[in-house]
């Protein structure tokens, strides 16, 4: 359905996409440019994208040596992985129940879900903090993972997705004698692939970049996540070491970009799979 010829419509489409992409990428271009500059090269009256002296090695070295980057990245991966795992395992059966099964508390659940969507972590941080402290769970992976193991966003998203799924597949499986659990595992999950992948992207991104909650519950460096590491470069009284800060940001953003590119491929695969079936 996509033509190979360059019609005027196509040219317009491409130029819109490309100029939009350039605008969206502009901050990154400046970030990469700044990551390679020495401190006195950054604030000049002339706009120069190419650094006068290439300082990438120095800034990246500073970024890697000022913080235990390996440990930070490891914690990031561990925490995001655990959170995502629990979120999906808890959300899928729940969303299935709300979408496809009849049960009395469905509307109440909907209210609870909406409530959950509205409540930002900033609002409930204090009571949660006190609770974790009383349970001596601060400075632990539990503190980092537990509050996020419930993702009403996931339930909401899967709910919409499952509602749009045709019932025939499920009826057929029931007639075949499959238990509800079996249906979830063998019918729903394979077909929910695009939704799960899309959610994976959101979950990982949100929790990889989460600054506020780890800031509150973690004071032991061994458990610090990547954003906490970036804090080292900020100094209120005198301006930041921008070059190293940008280099550190690059290092922390890169895993996410790589993961997103990979997820994209799976995304396309998942679509092709369902496309063939449909």
């Amino acid at each position: 359905m996509t033509s190979t010829s360059f019609t005027p419509g196509r040219i317009l489409r491409l130029s819109l996409l490309i100029s939009g992409a350039l605008i969206f990428l502009a901050p990154y271009i400046f970030m990469i440019s700044t990551a390679g500059k020495a401190q006195d090269d950054i604030f000049t009256s002339a706009l120069r994208l190419i650094p006068t002296h290439f300082f990438y090695v120095e800034n990246i070295t500073k970024a890697l040596s000022k913080v235990p980057m390996g440990r930070l990245l490891l914690n990031g991966v561990l925490v995001c992985g655990l959170i995502f795992f629990f979120q999906v395992v808890i959300a899928i059966p729940c969303a299935y129940a709300m979408a496809k099964l009849k049960f009395p508390a469905a509307r109440l659940m909907m209210v609870l879900i909406m409530l959950g969507l509205l409540v930002p972590i900033h609002a409930v941080a204090l009571p949660l903090y006190v609770a974790f402290n009383n349970l001596a769970l601060l400075n632990s992976y539990t503190a980092l993972v537990a509050p996020f193991s419930i993702s009403v966003f996931a339930i909401f998203m899967f709910l919409q997705f499952f509602r749009a799924m045709p019932d025939d597949l499920i009826h057929a499986a029931r007639l075949d004698g499959m238990s509800e659990l079996g249906i979830v595992a063998r019918v729903i999950v394979p077909n929910a692939w695009p939704a799960v992948t899309a959610f994976a992207i959101f979950s990982v991104v949100a929790h990889w970049n989460d600054f506020y909650w780890p800031l509150i519950v973690i004071s032991n460096q061994a458990y610090a996540t990547p954003p906490l590491g970036l804090m080292y470069f900020r100094a209120a009284e005198s301006g930041d070491d921008y070059g190293a800060l940008m280099a550190a940001t690059l290092i922390i953003t890169l895993p996410l970009v790589a993961a997103f590119l990979l997820a994209q491929k799976r995304f396309v695969e998942g679509i092709t799979m369902t496309g063939l079936k449909g």
Binding site: T2, R10, R13, L16, L17, G20, F24, L25, A26, P27, M31, L47, I90, P93, C94, A97, M98, L101, K102, F103, M109, L112, M114, L117, L118, V119, P120, H122, A123, V124, L126, P127, A146, P147, S149, I150, V152, F153, F156, Q160, F161, R163, A164, E180, A198, F202, W208, N209, F211, Y242, M246, A248, T249, I252, V257, F260, L261, Q264, T274, G278
Partner: protein, 307 residues
């Protein structure tokens, strides 16, 4: 005799089936329910209760002051300004990012080459750490040595004092807000678009839908219903929850021109350490969100149809 027996038994098993279905459903939802109670309901109750006290962070005890906090809120000029700013910010960022997200998703879907690149380019802002990107934006918006004003100066347009002037601070933050969220909505719309079966388009063409606009209006838009509902709800909620950019770039300034609800709550609770007062504010904030979302969902859910 046989026919009566034949009708009663299916009815019995139908009722039994319904009960067992309800039980299974409850079981499936149980873990989620327990966690919601623990991490959402109970803390909310705690916050509401704290809103009736004068608790200060670091205090060993607290005092119940009933509605004193709420009375104070009514007269608090900063809180009122904050409410207004949040409303303006949401009114700009939500619609713009939804429309742009949809537009970009449509463009990418119908384009053959460079899909991976475009998807990544538009999604990158969502994946980046806002604390660091804010620093970049602060430089981009610099009134005298920043590239944006340099460009504007070249074309001969006025060069606003983006983040430092009370008239433009909120709009500057809105620009960053849109930049941050378009990719988010784009991915959601892409997922929705790919779920639309291709036959529908073929069928529409057979029915006489010739132009791209027809295809969009007759097939794409209706089929995107659930997705659009989802995107709108999430966009509004996230816009109201804006905090990181305000904290890093303007701290609500200059003189509260860019102060938003969550930032005021943070200031009162964690900076001025007036946790009781901040909790009262949080309760109001949550109440507003609940009403808003409830209305919006109700309105749109009616217009959406599912297969």
């Amino acid at each position: 005799m046989a026919s009566i027996a034949a009708t009663t038994i299916p009815m019995q098993s139908a009722a039994k089936h319904e009960r067992s279905e309800a039980r299974t459903a409850l079981l499936f939802a149980l873990p989620a329910i327990i966690l919601i109670v623990l991490f959402i309901l109970l803390p909310i109750i705690a916050v509401v209760v704290l809103g009736f006290t004068d608790f200060q962070l670091g205090d060993k005890s607290l005092r119940f002051v009933a509605f004193e906090n709420y009375a104070h809120l009514l007269k608090d000029r900063t809180f009122q300004k904050s409410l207004w700013n949040t409303a303006v910010y949401t009114a700009i960022v939500a619609p713009v990012s939804i429309l742009l997200g949809l537009g970009v998703a449509l463009l990418i879907e119908s384009e053959g080459i460079g899909r991976s690149f475009f998807r990544t380019a538009y999604f990158l802002p969502v994946a980046s750490l806002i604390v660091a990107m804010a620093t970049v934006w602060q430089y981009l918006f610099h009134p005298t040595i920043g590239p944006i004003n340099a460009l504007l100066g070249e074309i001969g347009l006025p060069r606003p004092n983006w983040l430092a002037s009370s008239s433009t601070a909120l709009y500057s933050l809105s620009i960053i807000g849109v930049w941050q969220t378009v990719g988010f909505n784009m991915v959601l719309f892409l997922a929705g678009l790919t779920a639309i079966p291709r036959e529908l388009y073929a069928a529409a063409e057979v029915d006489g839908a010739k132009s791209a606009f027809d295809r969009f209006w007759l097939v794409t838009w209706p089929m995107l219903g659930p997705t659009t509902l989802f995107v709108t709800t999430i966009s509004i909620i996230n816009a109201v929850k804006v905090f990181d950019t305000v904290k890093v770039l303007t701290e609500g300034g200059p003189n509260h021109a860019s102060e938003v609800l969550l930032f005021t709550i943070y200031q009162e609770g964690f900076v001025y350490l007036r946790v009781g007062y901040a909790s009262a504010m949080t309760s109001v904030f949550l109440a507003i969100l609940v009403v808003l979302t409830f209305l919006q969902y109700r309105v749109q859910d009616r217009q959406v149809h599912y297969t």
